[in-house]
Symmetry: C2
Subunit: 363 residues, 2 copies
């Protein structure tokens, strides 16, 4: 990747109203981040909204210098070492910042997540399991949170572990994990979607969770309360067609309810590293390097250009309730590419919200 | 059932070399227990062995008087209140002795089994679950053993519970469950395959387990060590096509290994009565009274009569290693009924062993 292309990609993804899905569509339609940046003002104007605040070249340059100063580097969707399993998801981060041993991204991996307030026994179990998996050559991926996450990283530190954090690479959250995060940057790998300096906020954690699930052929939940973040990660993994594994517990232990529920819903019950390996084996072939497989494909044919009446028709079909894009396409009678372009314009104009499951609504 | 028929049935099943499978085949071939008793000497002679010691009329009469004195009665395979789900298995006991409320046999039921040395928490859990299931109208069936069995019966006592014991109706084993067994005879139901006065021996417990599994559309295991009797009951239930349910536990608890293993093998994870009911629902229709459905059908057409050469051919095909009856039939080129008759003769002559899965070997 040329320095200019990286800079343009940083500018594009750090611009207002441009998330992973929009970024991907812009690149598919315009061929490069540079061309997309030039097209955004016109698209936003046609979408009927204000021009989105674009990230300036100076801002992007400052971010890149900061990442370099931290000893980090960028991974860019569809290029170089960008993990191909992660690239398979529709909303994969276009850019990741990374500090540490990038070769870990090419090894078999398993995501291990669980409660922040897990029992001491469960933390000990997670640490031991990560250690045993490490001896089998498996990289343990987690979120550098308190509890199960930290225990999983500690167990995997000697053999290889990847931490995905919700804030920037230079932010330590929770503060008590600073030493662990620094150790992982030195001996493992730390990944962040947000630029340096970003303090993690509530909305960043589900984004972080999709990266953890997306990186691995399997997500293992150790101890989780019902409706917890760990279960969201498990759900995201299942939606991506990945294996979901869960460690059972007594029905008398409220902290076991989440995992027991996952098993009832079809997750594989695992009790030790051997059982995890057994569940992983079919998926191990799926861990491919971004160098081997370019799974990033254009979704929007560039040729289709809707006229004003067609734009109005798409807008009419949208409302405040999220509706599937497929349905909008069907009801509009237009080419999918044309509908996607109108949605892109509305998105850049700040008038569209994108929801889970490919749904959209007018803001 | 006439008194004379019952007496003949008692004589037949209490005779040497006549187990449930042989009993069933004799009844199918000769139409009545009385006719079978008369045929046994000839059959045994043709099988080339000693005449089996038949139970005398006096012995049978004494047993019947003892059962009556205990306030019990007989349930005879394929007749009256004999539970039809139990009758479906090939080696269902031809006769059961019973004390208590026979109407419990017509209610939806679930078998609940587990470790004799279960944790206090697991016993409390089993008791509570049985209580909750009772409130849903479900009869809890167990084996009146220590630990989980006793807890399950205690929890189900107010609403209805069935205990299947390995010895005779007048034997209390283990001794500390005497009070519970007496309470169950008064308020629930106690079943025994063996005649009164029989002290339970090791070989009786697997027989008892097949009755527990056979009575119910589902068997629930609460806490069980690997290779324990509870897991045998679960396996028997699965082989009969019944649901297997298991309560999970932490991998750190060795007593959870059996149940976690069952879940890995496909048993349904259950945490409470609602989840048990959910698993039972499809099977509830399967709990039919023996009065409604006569599932006891002849297996051996009475017309086929092998000659000496054919008898010799079947014997040649048998050896000390258990072989499937189907295979003997195929290799012999004879009618299945003819092969069954030769096997019956060898059996009555004390020269045949019958094994699980319909296999037989020469003694």
């Amino acid at each position: 990747m040329s320095g200019a292309d990286l800079l343009a990609r940083i500018r594009l993804i750090r611009s207002q109203s441009i998330g992973p899905v929009t970024f991907r569509q812009l690149l598919a339609r315009f061929g490069s981040a540079e061309a997309a940046l030039q097209a955004v003002p016109d698209l936003a104007a046609r979408g009927g909204g204000r021009m989105p605040a674009l990230c300036s070249e100076e801002q992007a340059e400052r971010e890149r210098a900061r990442v370099e100063a931290l000893g980090g580097r960028y991974l860019s969707l569809g290029q170089g070492l960008y993990p191909s399993l992660l690239a398979e998801s529709d909303n994969a981060p276009p850019l990741l910042t990374a500090i540490g041993d990038l070769s870990l991204l090419e090894r078999p991996s398993v995501a291990m997540v669980g409660a922040r307030n897990a029992s001491a026994a469960a933390c000990r179990f997670a640490r031991g399991l990560a250690h045993d998996l490490g001896r089998e050559g498996v990289v343990v991926v987690s979120g550098l949170a308190r509890g199960i996450d930290a225990a999983a990283h500690e167990g995997g530190l000697a053999t290889g572990t990847i931490g995905v954090i919700a804030g920037g690479l230079d932010i330590f959250y929770p503060p008590e994990n600073e030493r662990l995060q620094r150790e992982m940057a030195a001996k493992g790998l730390v990944l962040a979607e947000m630029p340096p300096g970003t303090e993690p906020r509530a909305r960043h954690f589900p984004y972080r969770n999709r990266i953890i699930a997306g990186l691995c052929p399997a997500t293992l939940v150790v101890e989780a309360a019902p409706r917890s973040g760990s279960l969201i990660t498990a759900r995201l993994a299942a939606e991506m067609g990945r294996e979901v594994l869960a460690v059972p517990g007594s029905p008398l232990d409220p902290r076991a309810q989440g995992c027991n529920g996952l098993i009832r819903d079809g997750a594989t019950l695992v009790q030790n590293a051997a059982e995890v390996m057994e569940a992983l084996r079919p998926g191990l072939g799926g861990v491919r390097s971004g160098r081997d497989l370019f799974s990033y494909s254009p979704e929007v044919p560039a040729s289709v250009e809707p006229d004003g009446a067609e734009r109005a028709r798409v807008e009419e079909l949208l409302g405040p309730s999220p509706a599937p894009v497929d349905e909008i396409v069907r009801l509009s009678g237009l080419e999918p590419g044309a509908v996607q372009l109108v949605l892109l314009e509305l998105d850049l104009a700040g008038r569209l919200d994108r929801h889970a499951g490919g749904k959209v609504s007018l803001r």
